[in-house]
C-alpha cells in the first residue's frame, strides 16, 4: 500500500498547529487595536450636511458664543440645534442671496427644521445630559475638540463607553473652573478648581460609575 502521507506531513502538521495558535493570538491583537482605533469610531470623518456650515468661521473667526446656536446646552439634556430663525437673525442681513443658504431660507419660510446629520450620536441606551456636564465644569472642548478650528465638523474622541469612564472614574484632571467652560484652547485642566470641588469628586466617582448613571 502506498504511503498516505509523506514524512514531511508531521512537520507540516506541527507547523500548522503553531501557526493556528499564533494566528489566534495575532487575530486577538488585531481586534484589540482595531476596536480602539479612531477610524472604527468615525473619528475625523465629516458627515454629509445639507449646508456647508463652517464652525471655524462662525465660532473661530467671528467669535460667536457656542450658546448662541446651541442654546439649551446649560439647561437640558440636548445641547439644541439652532432653528432657521436663529440663522436668519444674521443671514437676513449677510449673504442674503447665497445659494448655499437656500435650505435655511426654505426652512424659515416652511417652518420645517433643517436636517443636519449628527456626528456625535450616542446609542439610545446611553443617557447623556449636556447641562449636567457643562454646569459642573466639563468644557465643550473636552469632548468636542477644537470646534473653532473645524471647517467641517468631526468627532475628535471615540465616544466609546471606555472613554466616558476614563473621566467618570477620575473627573478632576479633566475639569475646568466654570467661567472657562466655553473657552477654546484653555490650559491647564484640573487647575484653579476650588478645594471642595476636588474633595467632592474623590467621593463621587463611585456614584459616577454606577450602571444607572448612564443606562436608565
Amino acid at each position: 500500500m502506498a504511503q498516505l502521507f509523506t514524512p514531511a506531513a508531521t512537520t507540516l502538521f506541527r507547523v500548522a498547529i503553531v501557526l493556528t495558535c499564533l494566528g489566534i493570538v495575532a487575530g486577538g491583537a488585531m481586534a484589540y487595536v482595531w476596536a480602539r482605533s479612531g477610524s472604527t469610531w468615525n473619528v475625523g470623518k465629516p458627515a454629509a450636511q445639507p449646508i456647508p456650515f463652517r464652525h471655524d468661521l462662525h465660532s473661530g473667526s467671528l467669535g460667536i458664543d457656542c450658546r448662541y446656536c446651541h442654546s439649551t446646552v446649560e439647561r437640558a439634556a440636548d445641547a439644541g440645534m439652532p432653528s432657521a430663525q436663529t440663522c436668519m437673525s444674521c443671514h437676513s442681513q449677510v449673504w442674503v442671496g447665497a445659494s448655499v443658504l437656500e435650505p435655511v431660507r426654505s426652512s424659515f419660510i416652511l417652518g420645517q427644521p433643517i436636517e443636519w446629520a449628527s456626528v456625535h450620536r450616542l446609542p439610545d441606551y446611553a443617557y447623556f445630559h449636556h447641562a449636567v456636564h457643562v454646569t459642573e465644569g466639563v468644557a465643550c472642548e473636552t469632548c468636542h475638540g477644537r470646534v473653532d478650528q473645524m471647517p467641517k465638523t468631526v468627532k475628535t474622541q471615540t465616544m466609546s463607553m471606555g472613554w466616558c469612564l476614563d473621566c467618570h472614574r477620575n473627573p478632576v484632571p479633566h475639569l475646568r473652573p466654570r467661567e472657562a467652560v466655553f473657552e477654546m484652547g484653555y490650559e491647564p485642566h484640573g487647575k484653579g478648581l476650588p478645594e471642595d470641588v476636588r474633595a467632592f469628586y474623590q467621593e463621587a466617582s463611585r456614584r459616577l460609575t454606577s450602571c444607572n448613571t448612564c443606562h436608565r
Binding site: L4, T10, F13, R36, M161, G162, D166
Partner: protein, 437 residues
C-alpha cells in the same frame, strides 16, 4: 490480530465506510432534519423579534429556556460522568457503551448551549459575558449567573469533546486503513493524527484518555452544581436551598444514564450490534439506571424533609409546588423518573429492547418535568403575592425545544453514519484477553 478480532473490526467499521445506509436511517434523518429546520425558524424569530415571542414575563424571567438548558446539561453531565467512570474503572461495559455515552454528552452540550445564548435577547453579543479587554472598560459581573453559564458551557464543551475525540483516535486510524477511497483515507488520516499503533502510541493514548477522564469527574460535579447555584443563590423561597446542587447532580446522573440506555438499546437493535453489546452489558446499564432512579427518589424525599425543617415561606413554596397550580408537573416527575424505572427490578425488563426504550425515555421525561416544576412551580409562590402568576410556553418556545431534540437526533444519526459507534480497539482488546485466558 486473530480472525475473531478481525471480524469485530470489519463489522463495526463497515458501517461508516459503506456507501449505503438503508431507508430507516434516511427517514429518521429527514424527520430530525425537519425539526432542525423548525429550530432554525424559532431561533431566527427570537433573534429578529426578541424574547417577547416567548411566554416569559416577571416573575417568570426563566421559562422553557432554562428548563431545557438545565435538562440538556443534565444529560450531558450524566452521560460524561458515566463515560469517564467507565474509562477510569477499565470496566467491560466501556467497550460497548462508552462511545455512545461520549457522543450523547457532546451533542447534549451543543443543545444546552443554544438556550442561554438565545435567551440573552441579543445573542450576537454573547461574548460580552467573557472577560476580554473591551472598549467599554468594564468587566462582566462575576456574580451574574450569565457569566457562570459561559464558563460552565464552554468548559463542558471543551472537556466533553476532548474525551470523545481522544477515545476516537485509534478507531479513526482503523477507518483510515480500511477506507477505500483516497480522499476518505486522507480525511480520516488527518484526524487520526498519524496514529501508527506502536506501543509508544498506545501508552500515550492510555495516559491521555485517562487524564481527560479524571478531569471530567470534578468538572461535572462543579458544572452541575453551577446550574443548581443559578437557582440556589436567588432569594426565591423554593430555590434558596443548599440541597439544590445535590438534587441536580443526582437527578442529572439518572437522566444521563437513562438517555445512554435509550440510545444504546435503540442502536443495538437498529445496527444489530447484539454481539458486541451483549445481554450482560444491557443488564448492567439497566441496573445502573435503576440505582440512579432510587437515588433520585431519596432526594425527592429529602426535599420534603428539608421543606419541613425550613422556614414558613420556603415550606409553603415547596408544598405549593406539590399541591398548587403546577402540582401536575411535580407528580408527573415522580411517576416518570421514580415509579416507572422500578420496572427494571425485573430481569426480563432489563434485557428487553422495548422496556429499555420505555424506561430510558420515561426517566428523561420525568427529569424534564422535574426541571419544569422547579423553575416554574418553584417561582409561583414568591415573597410578593402581587406577582403570583402562571407561566405557559408559547409555540416559539415549544418549537425551540422540539428543534433541539431534532438537532440531538440528527447529530446522533450522523455520528452513527460516519464514525464507529463502538470502540473497535477496546473490543479487539477484550476479545484478545478472552482468547488468551
Amino acid at each position: 490480530m486473530g480472525s475473531e478480532a478481525q471480524a469485530v473490526t470489519s463489522t463495526v467499521a463497515e458501517v461508516p465506510l459503506s456507501r449505503r445506509f438503508g431507508r430507516i436511517w434516511w427517514i429518521a434523518l429527514l424527520a430530525s432534519g425537519a425539526l432542525v429546520l423548525l429550530l432554525g425558524y424559532t431561533l431566527v424569530s427570537v433573534t429578529i423579534l426578541g424574547v417577547g415571542v416567548w411566554g416569559v414575563n416577571i416573575p417568570f424571567v426563566w421559562g422553557f429556556d432554562l428548563i431545557n438548558y438545565a435538562w440538556w446539561i443534565g444529560i450531558a453531565n450524566g452521560a460524561s460522568l458515566f463515560a469517564a467512570i467507565l474509562v477510569l474503572r477499565r470496566h467491560d461495559l466501556r467497550t460497548a457503551v462508552n462511545r455512545f455515552a461520549e457522543g450523547v454528552a457532546l451533542f447534549a452540550v451543543i443543545c444546552a448551549g443554544i438556550f442561554p445564548i438565545f435567551h440573552l435577547g441579543r445573542p450576537w453579543l454573547f461574548y460580552w459575558t467573557f472577560p476580554y479587554p473591551a472598549t467599554f472598560e468594564v468587566w462582566p459581573q462575576f456574580r451574574s449567573t450569565l457569566t457562570w453559564d459561559f464558563w460552565a458551557i464552554s468548559t463542558h464543551a471543551i472537556v466533553t469533546s476532548l474525551l470523545w475525540y481522544v477515545g476516537l483516535i485509534p478507531d479513526l486510524a482503523t477507518l483510515r486503513d480500511r477506507a477505500r477511497r483516497k480522499a476518505v483515507k486522507r480525511i480520516y488520516g488527518v484526524f487520526a493524527l498519524g496514529w501508527r499503533g506502536s506501543v509508544r502510541d498506545w501508552a500515550y493514548h492510555q495516559r491521555a484518555y485517562r487524564l481527560v477522564a479524571i478531569l471530567v469527574l470534578p468538572l461535572i460535579l462543579i458544572m452541575q452544581s453551577t446550574v443548581a447555584f443559578e437557582f440556589a443563590v436567588t432569594l426565591v423561597p423554593d430555590w434558596h436551598e443548599t440541597r439544590q446542587p445535590l438534587h441536580f447532580v443526582a437527578t442529572g446522573l439518572a437522566q444521563g444514564l437513562s438517555i445512554v440506555l435509550l440510545v444504546t438499546v435503540l442502536l443495538r437493535w437498529g445496527l444489530r450490534l447484539e454481539r458486541y453489546i451483549d445481554e450482560g452489558d444491557i443488564d448492567l446499564l439497566g441496573k445502573l439506571a435503576l440505582a440512579s432512579a432510587l437515588v433520585s427518589g431519596y432526594l425527592y424525599l429529602d426535599e420534603i424533609v428539608s421543606a419541613l425543617l425550613a422556614d414558613r415561606s420556603a415550606q409553603e413554596a415547596t408544598f405549593n409546588r406539590m399541591t398548587g397550580e403546577y402540582a401536575g408537573l411535580y407528580w408527573t416527575a415522580i411517576v416518570y423518573s421514580i415509579l416507572i424505572p422500578q420496572l427494571l427490578w425485573l430481569k426480563a425488563a432489563r434485557r428487553s429492547t422495548i422496556a429499555g426504550v420505555f424506561v430510558g425515555f420515561s426517566i428523561g421525561v420525568g427529569i424534564w418535568f422535574d426541571r419544569y416544576s422547579i423553575i416554574v412551580g418553584g417561582l409561583q409562590m414568591d415573597h410578593l403575592p402581587s406577582i403570583w402568576r402562571t407561566y405557559s410556553p408559547t409555540l416559539a418556545e415549544t418549537g425551540l425545544f422540539l428543534g433541539t431534540v431534532g438537532l440531538f437526533a440528527a447529530l446522533l444519526l450522523l455520528f452513527v453514519r460516519f464514525l464507529p459507534v463502538i470502540s473497535m480497539f477496546e473490543t479487539r482488546h477484550d476479545e484478545h484477553q478472552e482468547k488468551s485466558s
